[in-house]
Subunit: 312 residues, 4 copies
C-alpha cells in the first residue's frame, strides 16, 4: 500500500538507486499557485544541508509531469519525479545475496521473493523525499487556512565515535480548529500514529504526555476547562475522542539509530548461514536531524485529509 | 470512519445508551464454524468479570443477524448486535448542556453540532464490545493458521483512594511468519499503531523497545542475526521495513486514567461559562484491567487484514 | 464487497430467509430529522403494494439501532434492521443440493463453497429492501439541496400466461448542478453504471441515447449550446467527461425476467448431473414494477456520494 | 478519482498537451518479467497504426521509473511515463475562453474553476494510453492464468463525408473460472460496467444479451443447464448474481462519435454568449477503431482486481 489518504491521496513510488522517486497527488484542490521555493527548501532540510549527516548529496530537482499549468494546479492528478542522480549501484553488489542486520533486506525478500539490494531499495530513507514534496504542498494548503505544522528534534543520543544515534522528534500543529478527526477508526490521533509509524526507523508514537499517562491519576491527567473552551493543561495533546479540541495538537515520535555500521557485522546469506562482512556504502551518522521535515510532511498529509478542501 | 480493514472489513455501530452496539464483518471467509463460547469468554473479559472495575453489568448477548447458517459462516456479511440492557438515560440528563473535562463531549459537539450526552454516547468505551466480538472471530481465523495474540497489563498506577488509574498493556503476537505487512504506508507497525490509538484513552504506542530506542546507538539497537534467520534480540519488535521478520511481534500501548471523577469538577456550558457540578453516573475505577482483550481484538483485526484469507 | 460509496457509505447485510436484512450508513450528516414516513412509503413501493407482483407480503418494519436520537441523526453510524417475518425455509429444502437455471445458486456455491439455499439467500431481491431504506435517506438529503431522482417503468414485455416478464426502467435526476462527478474513474456515469448493474437482474445500462449513439454521426450526437449554458438536445444524458453539465441526468436500465418458472426445469445437482424438478416456492410474475424505487435508491446513493455533504 | 482497483491499483495521470501521461501500478505481483513488446504492440493498436484514424502520431515510448529491476517486477510501485512528443499548444489558444459543444470543456470548468484548454486536457482520449500500458501488464498476468480478453469492433456507423462516426465494441473474456466476482456491490458485471463507462465517449454497457432482455420471457432468457455445469445459451454473459459461472464473459460497449467537427459550430463563451468558430485542431474521423484495445485494457484491469494474485 503506497497510497496515503482518501481526499488528498498521495501515492509514492521509487527505489533508492532506481531511476527516480516521486509520486502522484490525486485530490489537490485546483487553482493553487504551487510554491516551488517552499518545496525546494523542504527538500534541502531533508538532505540535511547545513549539517553533516549524510555523505550522499543529490540535486533533488522535482519535475512536475501533470496537473499543473502555468504554475497553477488544475485539480487533476499532480505527478512528479525526482531523478536519482547520485546512484552507485556497484557499491552494493556484495549485498545481492546477503541480508544486513537491522535492515529490511530479509523482510522484503520474505515478502516479495525478490528485492532491490541497492542501498535499501524501496525501504531506503530516500523514499521520504517524495513525501516531503507532497507534504510541502499539503503544508501550503494548511497555511492558507491558518494551520501550521512545525517539528524539531526533541532528544538526540550523545555523539559516540564510530556509531550512529537515535533520538526523537516533537511536532506541534497550531491553528487547527476544534472538530477535526473522524471517530471511531479515523481518529486524528490514530491517523497521526499510522502516518508517523510509516516513517522508516520510527519506534514509538506519543500523543500529548504519551507514556507518562500510565503513572497519572484521572484527576491529574484530565485537562481542566478554562472559560471559553480552552484548557489549563494539554495532557491529551489537543485530541479527545479522536477529534481536535482547538488546543495545539502535540505528539512525539521516537526513531532508532540507523543500523548501518562502519565495521564488520554478520549478515544472513541465502542459505541461512552467517557471513561476516565489512559494510561499506554510505549512511547517515545522525539521520535524526533530517527527520523533522519528514514528520511535518506526514503530519500535514494527515491533517489535509481530515479537513474540508472544497474547490472554491 | 467506522470501518476497520480492507479484506476483513469490520464496521462498528452503536451508542452507549442507545438500543444496541454491534457491527458488520464483510469479508470473513466462508465455512468457518463460529466459536460462540470464545466470543462470550472475550466479552466477559471485557466486562471485567472476576474483578471489580465497573459498576455496570450487562448481559452482552450477541445476536447474529446474517452471514451465518447453522453456525457456519456463508462468506456474506456477518451482522451482529448486542442490546444495551442496563441503560439509565435519566442519569445523564444534567449533561445535556454540559461538557465534562477530559471527555469527548466538547469535541463531538464541535464535530457534529449535536451529541448523544448519555454516558459518552458513541465515544464511550461501550463501543469496544463490538470490537471484541469481531476480534474474537479474527483470533479464531488466526488460530487456525497458528497465530496467537495475547495481551496483558504491563504497568498499573498504584491504587489511590477516590481516583482512577492509568497504565499500559503489552501485546505479543506469536506464530506470524516472516513477510507480513505492506510497505510503505501499510506497514504492519503503522497499521498496529492506528489500531491501538483508535482504542479510547490510549496515549502512546511503542513497537519493540519503543521510546528507549532514542538512547540507543545503532550497534546496540540492531538485532544481530542467528544462523537460520532468527535474531539474538528483538529490539525492533518483530517488524523491519514494515514487514514481519518471523520473530514475535511485540508492542505496548499506554492508556490514561478515566477522567470521570467522584467529586465536583468544572464543566463547560454551551455559553462558554464554567459550571461546577458533582458528576455522578457510573465509571471504571480501573478500566486498564479490561483493556487487554480489546488490545488483542484490535491486534487480531489488524493482522487478519494483512494475511492471505483465501476462501478454500 | 457489500459497501457502496465513500462519503455516505452504505454497508448492506442479510439473507432472504435469515433473521433480517439491513445495513449501516456511515457518513450521514448529523442533525437530519429522519422522514420515516418516506422510508415506509418507499418500502411499500418496493413490495409492490397496489399491484399483484409477488406472493410474499412482509411487514418490512425498520428498526434503527443506532445513530439516531429523538428522530435526529447524530453523525454516527446509522444501523438498521428489517426482520424477515414471512420466511418459510422448509419450502426450499429440495434446493439444498440443486442449482436452478438462471439463478445465482451455482455461482455462489463456486465462490464460497457453501450457500444459503433458502429463497436465493443473499442473491435474492429481498436484499434490495435495505438499499431502499438507505436510498430513502439519501433522497431526503438530496431533496434538501433541490435534487430529485425519479424512476418509472419504460418498457414491459407483454403479459404471457405462465411466464415472467423482462423490461426496463428510465430514471431522471433533476436539479443536479453542473460540476458533479469525479473524472477519470469516478465519472458520474461510471458510478451510476456500477450502481445500476449491482441491482439483481439488470442486463444493460444506457446513458442518454445509449445504444442509439452507435448509429449517430458526430454532428447528430453533439448537443448544441443554447446561450446561457443549456443545450438544445440532451443526447449525452447530462454528463460530459464524467461530470454533470446542469441538464437532467437521464439513463435507462434493462432487467431480465425472473428465471423462476412455474413448471418443470432441469437443475444441476452437486455431482454435475441434471435433475428435473418442479420449482415451487414464491416468485414475482412481474418484478419490473417493483424496480423503479430500487433504481431511484441506487441513483440517490450514487449522487449523495459525489456532492458536498458538509455537516453544517 | 484517478485510481482504478483495490489489489492491482492503477493511478493514472496526465493532460493531452502537458509533459506526459502515465501512471503508477501498486500491487503488481513481484517477479513478473515485463513483456515490453506486448505493451508496445498494444500502444500501436491504440494509435491506430495500420489505419488512418487520427492525424496525431506519437512515439509513445514508455519509460519505467520504478518497480522494475533488470526487467523483473519487484512488487513495489511501478511508475511509468509516456512523454507527449507531438504537442501543439498554440493550436488551441482560441479555446482558452470557449467551450466546444459535445466536449467536457464546460463541465471541467464547472468542476474545477480552471481547465487545460489544450486538446481536451485531462478529458482527452490521450489519457487512455496510460490505461493501455497498465492493461497490457494486467493481460500478461491473466494470460499466465489461462485467461484472455479480446475485443473487436461490433458496429460501425457508415462512412459519411465530413463527419465522425459512432459504433460499438464487443469483448469476450475466455478462461475465467466460475466463482469470480464480489457480490453485492462488487459484482463482476457492475465492476465491468464502471470500467467501460469510464472510457471517454462510452454511452451504453450491455451484459450478454443486454437490452434485448427487456423483450424476453423468463423461460426464454434463463440459460438452461448442460450436465457438467455449462449452459446451452449464454444470455447472461457468463455472470450470475455478480459472479462468473465459467462460461465466456461477454459484453458490449457503445461509443458516440467524436463531436469535434470540421466546420463551424457555436461555442459557449465565458459570459454565456455563443460564438461561432471554425474548430481546427486534430481529431479522429473514426476513433471506434482504436477503442478495442482500450476496452481490453479496462476488462483486464477489472478482472485482475477480482482474482487471487498471491505473490508466490
Amino acid at each position: 500500500m503506497n497510497t496515503f489518504g482518501t481526499n488528498f491521496r498521495f501515492t509514492s513510488f521509487g527505489e533508492s538507486h532506481g531511476l527516480a522517486v516521486g509520486g502522484i497527488i490525486d485530490g489537490c484542490p485546483s487553482r493553487l499557485a504551487l510554491d516551488t521555493d517552499a518545496i525546494r527548501a523542504d527538500l534541502a532540510r531533508r538532505r540535511g544541508e547545513g549539517d553533516e549527516t549524510t555523505t550522499r548529496r543529490e540535486a533533488d530537482e522535482v519535475e512536475f509531469l501533470s496537473g499543473v499549468m502555468d504554475g497553477i494546479t488544475l485539480g487533476t492528478p499532480i505527478a512528479f519525479a525526482i531523478r536519482n542522480a547520485d546512484t552507485r549501484p556497484d557499491d552494493y553488489e556484495e549485498l545481492r545475496h546477503l541480508c544486513r542486520p537491522g535492515h529490511a533486506d530479509f523482510t522484503y525478500q520474505a515478502r516479495y521473493g525478490i528485492r532491490d539490494h541497492r542501498g535499501g531499495g524501496r525501504a531506503s530513507g530516500r523514499e521520504t523525499a517524495a513525501r516531503v514534496v507532497a507534504g510541502a504542498i499539503a503544508k501550503q494548503l494548511l497555511a492558507q487556512r491558518g494551520i501550521g505544522c512545525r517539528a524539531a528534534v526533541a532528544e538526540l543520543a550523545p555523539q559516540t565515535p564510530d556509531d550512529t544515534r537515535g533520538g526523537s522528534v516533537r511536532c506541534v500543529v497550531q491553528g487547527l480548529p476544534a472538530g477535526v478527526g473522524d471517530p471511531v477508526f479515523g481518529r486524528l490521533n490514530a491517523m497521526l500514529a499510522a502516518a508517523m509509524m510509516s516513517i522508516p526507523s520510527s519506534t514509538a508514537f506519543e500523543m500529548g504526555v504519551g507514556t507518562q499517562a500510565a503513572d497519572m491519576t484521572g484527576s491529574a491527567f484530565a485537562d481542566q476547562w478554562l472559560a471559553g473552551g480552552r484548557t489549563v493543561t494539554n495532557h491529551c495533546g489537543g485530541v479527545q475522542g479522536g477529534i481536535s479540541n482547538g488546543m495545539p495538537v502535540e505528539f512525539k515520535v521516537t526513531f532508532h539509530a540507523v543500523p548501518t555500521l562502519p565495521h564488520e557485522v554478520d549478515c544472513l546469506a541465502d542459505d541461512g548461514t552467517l557471513r561476516r562482512v565489512n559494510l561499506g556504502g554510505r549512511h547517515d551518522t545522525c539521520h535524526i536531524l533530517r527527520l523533522p521535515v519528514v514528520v511535518e510532511a506526514m503530519a500535514a498529509l494527515t491533517i489535509v485529509n481530515l479537513i474540508d478542501l472544497k474547490e472554491q
